[in-house]
Symmetry: none
Amino acid sequence: MQNLTRKQRDVLEFLLQEPPPFAYPPALEELAAAMGMKSRGSLHRLIQGLLAEQLIEPLDRRHPGVRLTDKALALGRNKPEAANALRYVGKIAAGRPIEALEDQRYMTVPDELKTNQPCYVLKVQGDSMVELGILDGDWVVIEQRCHARNGEIVVALVNKSEATLKIIEQYPHEVLLVPANAQMETMRYHPSQVEIQGVLVGQMRSYRPLTLK
Amino acid sequence: MQNLTRKQRDVLEFLLQEPPPFAYPPALEELAAAMGMKSRGSLHRLIQGLLAEQLIEPLDRRHPGVRLTDKALALGRNKPEAANALRYVGKIAAGRPIEALEDQRYMTVPDELKTNQPCYVLKVQGDSMVELGILDGDWVVIEQRCHARNGEIVVALVNKSEATLKIIEQYPHEVLLVPANAQMETMRYHPSQVEIQGVLVGQMRSYRPLTLK
DNA sequence: CAAAACGAGAACAAGTAAAGAACTATTTTT
DNA sequence: AAAAATAGTTCTTTACTTGTTCTCGTTTTG
């Protein structure tokens, strides 16, 4: 990866080395010791940097240990395209949870369609944004963040169950999710019902006759 | 680049050599050592010259190292380094010739948006295809070929001077170029007036607030 | 010969890294 | 159920890296 500091790269290379240094995801303490560091606190900061590049799975106290993402593994098998690959998460259809793919897939997205922040790709199902040129079957590039400015197009999770792609308008006592489709209604919610999961930064469409999935 | 000094060119050539001298962006110190210089201060001045020519990405302490720009990479080889990069040719605006960029640029386009045949990228200017979700400022991926089936969206060169992106309908005695915009007229030509330059296979759009170029 | 380009090195600013302590959440042991 | 152990997180202090700027000779170039 390009945007890593020296030590971050060292950690990544250590984890990617062949044969793997650990048979299981190592705890921060173990990894630090194996790399000759005496403090897991310092290592934690390096790991956070790799996490921002989506090279390491988010840490979780319930399943301890640092795990590389598929993206990092692809990088290790010296596939340079993996460097600017984004996770293709699954499909978003208004009114349903995001439908994740069983297997992790990646798309190599041009720099022009993404930001410096972590991004991922969803496939759009439905016509809620047709009037802004986002059609059924398009892919959208989403910057992962939990806040947005009014007028931005967001992935919003409503009532912790329904995901949808809409224009957002936030006011102190209500949140509006506005479709770009005259056939559809603007939805109004209490702020507590709506959780922003990301903001639209790019869009792609294939016109090839036989495009799978 | 011609307005580079001797040493500036040396540095550029060193970085462009095959195989690449570094697997990651080298710090000034490392690069200086690798080139047999003892001072990064001197190297820094050379780098500044290359930076002024936009051959090197601006340095940043947070992501240390010297990185070449796409421009430098394109300059160094006839083909771009990434296998899935496509040539970004320029802009297409209905009724004018394709406006080519001065310098060669490339975009890394996902496999899903291209075909196995040679493809290139154009930026769309104008609203002739809005009703099919292709907006002003979008990029389109074009498969380079000189024939099309009726109903396909093509880059057509009319009277050897005007390039345009339209839906094509071809009949023995006339060719129709149909816009996807109720405000615009379908144009009718004699087959000899219309030359197909490629067929639309993909489309991309950026929603980032500050997209340059 | 004069101007520009270059190399080495010193000094500086801003950010990264290491260590260790303190804290939180979770699991295991007693 | 309480206590202890484990593992991730946060913070502070100190040391180190890295890019930046300058100066002073030396080399190259027109």
